[in-house]
Amino acid sequence: MNKMIPIMIGSIVALGVMGVMLGRVGKRSSIETGGTSASGDPNQPDLMLFCAASNRAVMEAILADYAGEYGRQVEVQYGPSQTLLSQLEVSHVGDLYLPADDSYLRMASEKGLTDEVLPIAGMQGVVAVKKGNPKGIKSFDDLLKEDLRLVQADPDAAAIGKVTRSTLTKAGLWDSLNEATTAYRTTVSEAANDVVVGAADAAIVYDAVLHTYPNLEFVELAELAPTASQISIGVIHTTDQPVAALHLARFISARDRGLKHYQDHGFRVSGGDLWSDVPELKLFAGSMLRPAIEDTIEAFQQREGVIVDTVYNGCGILVAQMKAGQVPDAYFACDSEFMEQVPDLFPEPIDVSQNELVIVVQKGNPKEIASLRDLTKEGLRVGVGHEKQCAMGWLTQNTFREGGVQQEVMKNVTVQSPTGDMLVNQMRSGSLDAAVVYLSNAAGSGEYLDAVRIQGLECSIATQPYAVSPESANAKTAGRLFALICSVDSQESFAAEGFGWKLSSDTGKND
């Protein structure tokens, strides 16, 4: 028999055997690295994280903790940030993306590849030198000396190179440094490696990179101070398991979980939520906002796997509760006036929407009410918001005062309610002839009631600010809720309920 035949058959058998063995390499790794998922569903697929290779050491430590605590496996693709970005752009797979710095996440977001972004840690551009600083580098001018071999990361390929060029160009120092640079390297690690092996005397790198280089130290220069960069993790738009992805992202960015490891690995960390498997977010919101935000809050709970305990009430009552010691994670007030009463708890409110006061009357306006002055008509039954209990009441009294009708109208007021919804209900039951409420309160009752606009009084317009408590253990999660409230879908809900949008459309992103 031809001796080639057994060789050919042998090679086919060998291929089959090796194929089986290759298949077992993956299976063996599954057994070695974890058990079942956090949700207890063994069929839940692994999470896939695209992670910058420079973060590998810290990420392995964090994922070991995560596997220990939840038994959930994570498949991590390590690589250069730009390569990873190209991979997820082409393959549309994966759940999370953690590049070497934020600039890649901005690119990903612009391309519609990522949704939520959770900040993790910061890094600072410094000059890496050998232990003991043998070249005595102390100032920027020392980098320009002829006998110094300086390497940098490529400004077109690496984040530190990019930010160094941009910073020094603004300061008018780039040309001289560019001339003094011996070589440009593709990655920041290559630049640091050059100093380790003696191919360079100094390299401009991020300080966090040097954690794994025991033979190197860094010199901070004032000229490089603006080169600080941020690391964040983004949820990939096409993920089919956002709850699990956000669970891991929250774990990585939690101050008592992932951030501890980031700090140990030389990164600069600040903030971060306290870890909770299922965080409970407490939100105080003015009653008027309920129809505009309740669907958004439900969607947020579903996507994030968190619980949002929302307390809707008149803002005066909410302020009183806060002053009595109840501090929510976030507060969405009916009007700025009621945010300004708790400045210590919420120092940085952001105005989100606007709502105007209107006079609601029975369908067809049988009492022929056309202005505030008409509310003074003899025998009219008028309902208004309670001045102390809600923003609407306070705003109504202001409007009456500005319109010069306060005393006359108040004679006709038969009901003062803490919420506009209650007044609308009373209107529909026929117990009132007219009520002064927000346009949003009346938005759902167009079938039974008419609304009369109050003309010429700016003070009849309320502005709704949102703020997150800086003391909150869930500040970042509350920030993401705000981002969702600012989304296009949410803005449509506000518009449908009669609110005007005040915030610029891109505010609220990336936090």
């Binding site: 290759l22 993956g26 070695e32 498949e75 190209s86 393959s91 549309h92």
Partner: protein
């Protein structure tokens, strides 16, 4: 007119004299050759000096490196065997026959050699995820066949095969070019079919070339890095091969481990190459 003493065939010089005259030849040839050998030895010596035995042992003891080692050996071998299966018929066809489009096919075979490795990886990734009227190759393989490729071990093998096979085809083509087709023609005049002539005459003569092609394919697969990183990723214990380990260790400044893994790859390569060459020599003899 030729001086008989200058003739290379002249036997008038004594053996001692001939040896003296050969010395400059061997000195020059050996000197030039040794430059390259010396360079490689110096590289290895520098690596050995940079790391230590403890570091080398520590690297070998890591489970993720052991896993990368297993995957590297298996995937390189599968890629090399697949390459020789494809390269042998393709090299034979290109060497023996003139057919329309032969020049084009000859050029296409070289594309993986000239293409930047990252581009090859990206092209593979695009191929598997390109939506064609709503159908996607990766989606079909994953959902209908149950054999996902991207970011799994088959992607490692495919990335290695894509480059390794091109080199193997080139080697096999040269091999068949150098085998005189006369023996096959004679076999056919004696009643052999074309297939029998190929199996019983051409293939046994091409054995050394096949060993060389397998060796080159295996070596190329071992050094492959770019396409694997892009197409298969670098997931620890799953798609991480030794070349990606070196990259990952370098990325976090772990030079000792990177050098240790590099030396491990050198040892592996030397062992496999020597085995293959001995196998080739044994079979040929």
């Amino acid at each position: 007119m030729t001086d008989s003493n200058d003739s290379p065939l002249s036997e008038t010089r004594s053996p001692t004299g001939r040896r003296r005259s050969d010395a400059p030849f061997f000195l020059v040839m050996g000197g030039i050759s040794s430059c390259f050998i010396l360079l490689i030895l110096l590289l290895l010596a520098a690596d050995l000096k940079f790391t230590s035995m403890q570091e080398f042992k520590a690297a070998l003891m890591k489970p993720e490196i052991q896993s990368a080692f297993r995957l590297t050996i298996l995937s390189c071998t599968v890629a090399a065997v697949l390459s020789i299966w494809v390269a042998t018929p393709l090299g034979y066809l290109l060497a023996r026959f003139r057919f329309p489009g032969r020049l084009l096919i000859d050029t296409i075979v070289d594309i993986p050699i000239v293409l930047p490795p990252l581009v090859l990886g990206l092209s593979l990734l695009i191929l598997f995820h390109l939506p064609i009227f709503g159908w996607e190759l990766e989606g079909w393989l994953r959902d209908d066949v149950g054999f996902p490729v991207t970011y799994r071990w088959p992607a490692v093998v495919l990335a290695q095969f894509s480059v390794a096979c091109a080199f193997a085809v080139r080697t096999m083509r040269v091999t068949f070019d150098q085998i005189n087709p006369r023996a096959e023609d004679v076999a056919r005049t004696l009643g052999c079919t074309r297939g029998q002539a190929f199996m019983q005459v051409a293939l046994p003569q091409a054995w050394r070339g096949m060993i060389a092609a397998t060796t080159i394919a295996w070596a190329r697969a071992l050094g492959e890095f770019g396409p694997i990183l892009v197409f298969a990723g670098a997931t620890r214990m799953r798609t991480e091969v030794l070349s990606t380990t070196v990259f990952l260790e370098l990325s976090i400044g772990n030079l000792d481990a990177a050098v240790a893994v590099s030396l491990l790859m050198v040892v592996m390569a030397v062992a496999v190459l020597i085995t293959l060459r001995l196998l080739g020599t044994g079979l040929t003899s």
